[in-house]
């Protein structure tokens, strides 16, 4: 009898041990009552009558590296304005990484405004899981409370935030076109007397790199943009969401979805990088390096996106002045305007107030400036009496400020004064740049991969196996690309391309109607 009891107890325990691993490991957060979260959210939303004079506290998850006290101080200064205007106080929550955002959204944490910049998969991932509150749904938040924002945002950029006809996000007033090329160290370029053209080719770049390599064999001519082989693509390619099935060149206006890894452009690029690698122009171990900021260290150049003011941004983050040679003309596709922006999460208790505050961030210069640059006298001071540009207060190093400015992460950086050393016409130039971008024929298209989810998962795995070593030239493309393509096909890339083409054709047909 006792033996039986012992045995059954042990059986239960063993079962628990294995299954509990499932509960903890497999579905992180899935058990934490997301159902309850969504229920309470909709109950609160239907009320929607928080104009009763009570002050509402909004939780704003922003992208910044501010000190907690500094962020609280900024939040208090902003609240002082918004209490009067819309009856709202805000709480700023700092620098959340992808896992934290994911977990908060899954578990239904009450967040009123969320900057999803860090989230892997960005807006697509949010929409697939229904995490965002619709802005032009039944309560039509955007038209009731967002007129100011609508008057500022370029209509073409707004279209990129629509999914199946419903608006879920608003684009920040940042760079919504992209141009890309190489950032190079200004001191080295000047020292060697190299002429850097505004636009150039990979061959031009090769000549420069060879020169630098000869003069400074101790430097790495090309380094990764961030750890683990980070790379900004130097092609005008529209990734159509996930790089599996793309429009290889937005400038030729073709709407045929192709396998990017099978294009000549990709193969030629890999061959070139392989050759560069053989010549010692690329940092060794580049795909596995664990360092960010190599450019500011021992690197000469890196693949980087360009926009007006980018030189200063690189200087701020890497501590070295740089010059750009671009290889791609400005262009735009869906995930540029809708990347790095904001949504009202589905679990927000006060979506109407959140929209009002969001609108103010687009239109109120004081609020925009507080959020972007912090508090006058503490985080910034006017650099001149005419109040045209700002600088850090004396004794404060830009890298050690308690509230570092991350201007593009806020809805409207264009209301704020520029920093000293930056072109005073920066915002005009930025808008000009945004308008100059050649619009991809698939602009506004959202890829819904639900029907081929298994193939997408398998293909992502194949890409992560080959792509990084190919684009950095650490493996021989002649041998590796055919194998890569065969694996992709086995993983179902053709199903994905067919599904994507079908959706794109439907999108284009609706657009012309």
């Amino acid at each position: 009898m006792r033996k039986l009891w012992k045995r059954s107890a042990a059986l239960v325990l063993a079962g628990l041990m294995t299954v509990s691993l499932a509960a903890c490991g497999g579905n992180s957060g899935s058990g934490s009552s997301s159902g309850g979260g969504s229920g309470s959210a909709s109950a609160d939303n239907s009320g929607g009558s928080s104009d009763s004079g009570e002050i509402v506290k909004l939780v704003v998850w922003a992208l910044n590296n501010a000190e907690t006290e500094d962020a609280a101080e900024v939040a208090e200064a902003v609240s002082a304005i918004t209490r009067e205007k819309i009856g709202v106080e805000i709480q700023l929550v700092n620098a959340q990484d992808a896992e934290q955002i994911q977990l908060a959204l899954t578990s239904g944490e009450p967040i009123d405004l969320l900057n999803y910049n860090n989230l892997t998969g960005q807006l697509t991932a949010i929409l697939r899981n229904n995490y965002a509150y619709p802005l032009d749904g039944d309560d039509d938040l955007i038209h009731n409370y967002g007129q100011g924002a609508l008057s500022v945002i370029a209509p073409a950029d707004l279209e990129a935030c629509r999914y199946n006809g419903t608006l879920y996000a608003l684009p920040n007033q940042k760079d919504t076109s992209r141009s890309a090329g190489f950032a190079m160290r200004k001191d080295i370029v000047d020292e060697l007397g190299i002429e850097v053209p505004e636009y150039g080719t990979f061959d031009d770049m090769h000549d420069i790199l060879v020169k630098v390599h000869e003069a400074h064999p101790e430097m790495y001519p090309v380094v990764s943009t961030w750890a683990g082989g980070g790379f900004q693509q130097p092609w005008p390619m529209d990734p159509l969401g996930d790089n599996l099935g793309v429009l290889p060149n937005v400038f030729d206006d073709s709407t045929t979805v192709e396998n990017w890894y099978a294009t000549d452009t990709y193969r030629e690029f890999c061959e070139m990088m392989y050759q560069w690698n053989q010549e010692g122009l690329i940092m060794p171990d580049i795909t596995t390096s664990t360092e960010n900021g190599l450019f500011g260290g021992n690197g000469f150049s890196m693949f980087e996106n360009w926009k007006p003011g980018k030189e200063y941004e690189v200087y701020k983050s890497q501590g070295k002045e740089c010059v750009f040679m671009k290889v791609v003309q400005p262009h735009k596709y869906t995930s540029l305007p809708n990347g790095n922006s904001w949504v009202i999460p589905y679990c927000s208790p006060h979506p109407d107030k959140a929209m009002q505050f969001w609108d103010l961030m687009y239109t109120d210069a004081d609020i925009a400036n507080l959020l972007v640059n912090g508090i006058e006298g503490k985080h910034w001071v006017w650099a001149d009496d005419a109040h045209t540009c700002i600088t850090t207060p004396e004794g404060v190093d830009p890298n050690t400020s308690g509230y570092p400015s991350v201007d593009w992460s806020w809805p409207n950086q264009q209301l704020t004064p520029v920093w000293e050393g930056v072109d005073p016409d920066l915002w005009d130039k930025l808008n000009e740049f945004n308008e100059s971008g050649h619009v991809s024929p698939a602009h506004g298209f959202f890829w819904n991969s639900d029907e081929v989810m298994n193939q997408v998962t398998n293909c992502n795995n194949v890409v992560s196996q080959y792509n990084n070593s190919l684009i950095w030239g650490t493996v021989d493309p002649d041998a590796t690309i055919p194998q890569f393509l065969a694996d992709l096909e086995a993983a179902g890339i053709n199903d994905i391309i067919a599904a994507k083409q079908k959706q794109l054709d439907e999108f284009l047909a609706n657009k012309t109607e």
Binding site: K6, R7, A9, A10, L11, A14, L16, M17, T18, V19, S20, L21, A22, A23, G25, G26, N27, S30, G31, G35, G36, S38, G39, L105, T106, G108, T120, G121, A125, R128, N130, Y131, G228, D242, M283, P284, D285, T287, T288, T290, Y346, C347, S449, D450, M453, V456, T457, N458, N460, N461, S464, Q465, Y466, N468, S469, T474, D487, A490, A491, G492
Partner: protein, 305 residues
């Protein structure tokens, strides 16, 4: 019934001690199990767990669809088998050797030194490995191989070395903890057994094989059965961070966990991640029960249940 009350009255302090564990298990393991259904749904936040559409086994398909499925299952199983076998043998040997050391100070020093790696985070281990293996500045390429006159090896692009590197790191890291479990058992062995063995004229080696090892048998079996339950799981840090997520190594470093991470990192598909977790658990559970059945057939006293 009467029997139950009698047992309860007699052993109530023991049941009281049992209670916190049961409560913990119930809250932490049983309640979340309602989330298992997510593996069978296309989850979205707005509709919640109960409202999301039911898709049956759709979420499990990606785990079996391609050649990768074979590779990741093979890697997960073989690595874990080697880890279990090698880990057990080494842990027992070290525990026995440690027991033979008479100097108390030395004994504690070695014990601590062997345990330290277990306390280091895998992320830090991955940087330690990088310091050894990197092409540019790594110790092995720039110091060791240079002295020996061997050309530098591009470690992160050469798959053939990695099964050994991973096994080495895992054993180095886990040895201390396993060793302590065995060492504790050895310390608990009745000294009169050894004295009797000495009287019978047994030498040190004979004492080990005839006294120590038989006394360790049930501990070995229990620990092995427990690790079999986790045979479909892998240490994510070991297989993802230590190889620095290097593409060319994927054939020898891909396990079920890294596959799920690589595939779903961009899509954040909760249903499919849950499906993978459930799959691993069910296989683990079946393995434990089967292995226990076998043990019970061979030696009923040593089985878990």
């Amino acid at each position: 019934m009467k029997r139950v009350t009698r047992t309860l009255r007699r052993f109530w302090p023991l049941y009281l001690m049992f209670l916190p564990g049961v409560v913990y298990l119930f809250i932490n393991c049983y309640i979340p199990m309602f989330g298992i259904q997510i593996a069978f749904r296309r989850y979205n936040a707005k509709d919640g767990v109960y409202g999301s559409p039911w898709v049956g086994f759709e979420n499990f398909k990606f785990l079996f669809q391609t050649d990768d499925a074979f590779i990741m299952v093979r890697n997960t199983l073989l690595y874990n088998l080697v880890f279990i076998a090698l880990g057990t043998v080494l842990a027992i040997s070290v525990a026995i050797i440690l027991n033979e050391i008479r100097n108390q100070f030395a004994k504690q020093l070695y014990q601590t030194l062997i345990l330290i790696p277990y306390l280091i985070s895998m992320v830090i281990v991955s940087y330690l490995a990088f310091a050894f293996l990197s092409t540019g500045n790594g110790y092995i390429n720039n110091t060791l191989l240079k002295v020996l006159g061997i050309p530098a090896i591009d470690w992160y692009n050469t798959p053939k070395y990695w099964p050994f590197i991973l096994v080495l790191i895992n054993v180095w890291k886990g040895l201390g903890y396993n060793m302590i479990l065995y060492y504790a058992t050895i310390c608990g062995i009745d000294h009169t057994l050894y004295e009797a063995a000495v009287v019978d004229g047994a030498n040190r080696w004979q004492q080990i094989t005839n006294v120590t090892l038989p006394c360790l048998k049930s501990t070995i079996i229990i620990l092995t059965l427990m690790s079999l339950g986790g045979i479909f799981r892998s240490d994510f840090g070991l297989f993802y961070q230590v190889p620095q997520n290097s593409g060319p190594l994927i054939n020898v470093t891909q396990t079920i966990d890294t596959y799920v991470y690589r595939g779903l990192m961009q899509s954040n598909n909760i249903g499919m991640s849950s499906a993978a977790g459930l799959y691993q658990s069910v296989v683990g559970f079946i393995l434990v029960v089967t292995a226990n059945l076998v043990v019970r057939k061979v030696d009923a006293e040593s089985s878990l249940f």
